[in-house]
Amino acid sequence: MLTDYATIGVFFLLTVSFPIAAMALSWIFRPKPKAAPDDEKYTTYECGVDTRGKTWIRFRVNYFLFALVFLAFDVETVFLYPWAVKFQKLGFFAFAEMIVFIAILVVALWYAWKEGALEWH
């Protein structure tokens, strides 16, 4: 059984090594600056508007609604998962059942949308 998860382990190693390899390659091939980089180089964005004030601030309470709506659809995913695993064996009736399930939840999405829960103020 554990060897099944070794596949995931291989994927994990690949995903870790891929960005490292990409950055290492660009480090090898990029032109090296002759002078030491000045302060401007070390800013987060070389161009654009600098941020003002601290970034660790309190956020608007409106965001909490996004969290709550996300919560409901996250739990929906738990139900979708076994269905997706067995999709080919289950046949049309299970497909219809899942359509009903999703249709009920689309009502939830429609209600949240109608009430402006998804709007960005």
Binding site: Y63, K86, F101
Partner: protein, 177 residues
């Protein structure tokens, strides 16, 4: 060395690695000074527990642990932190200097540890007999969920609908007629 013994040792090694990461993350939850870092360590702890479930061949429970705990619950915790934060961020989880609270903490921890150790010591731990866990547990779950228990399954959708409507009403209030 036989394959079974080698497999057992591999299982032990994997468990030790998971346990180190999980326990380390749990210690981070307690000791780090920045409460956002505490929350992120908590996510890592949840993922470690999920890894233990996966190792015990309880794949679906591990998946639910990742989706519900590492996904939903931690999102709630992080949002709650973001919405009420009013201190310097690296001062948000300072140790409490009061002696009384420390004594109370040590007392409660000692009670918990004693209870757990006694419970482990006095349990017989018989080896499980009978058939092992089904290989295709998620598939069986899908067949039951969409077969015999389809009413309960659709009722769960209605429950989620009620949860969303309730959340929207609680957060935004009902429109005045």
């Amino acid at each position: 060395m036989s394959t079974a013994a080698a497999n057992l040792q591999l299982q032990d090694a994997v468990f030790v690695m998971i346990a180190i990461v999980t326990t380390g993350a749990a210690l981070g939850v307690v000791f780090l000074r920045n409460i956002v870092h505490n929350a992120l360590c908590l996510v890592l702890t949840f993922l470690g527990v999920a890894a233990v479930y996966f190792q015990l061949n309880a794949g679906f429970i591990g998946l639910v642990q990742i989706l519900v705990y590492a996904g939903a619950i931690s999102v709630l915790i992080i949002f709650a932190i973001m919405l009420v934060m009013d201190k310097e961020i690296n001062q948000t989880n300072l140790p409490i200097p009061s002696l009384g609270r420390r004594i109370a903490g040590v007392y409660i921890t000692a009670l918990l540890v004693i209870t757990l150790v006694l419970a482990i010591y006095f349990t017989a731990w018989p080896l499980a007999t009978g058939a092992g866990a089904p290989f295709d547990a998620v598939g069986m779950l899908a067949e039951l969920m969409l077969g015999d228990y389809v009413i309960a399954f659709e009722a769960a959708a209605v429950l989620l609908l009620v949860a969303v409507v309730g959340a929207v009403i609680l957060a935004k209030g009902v429109e005045k007629q």
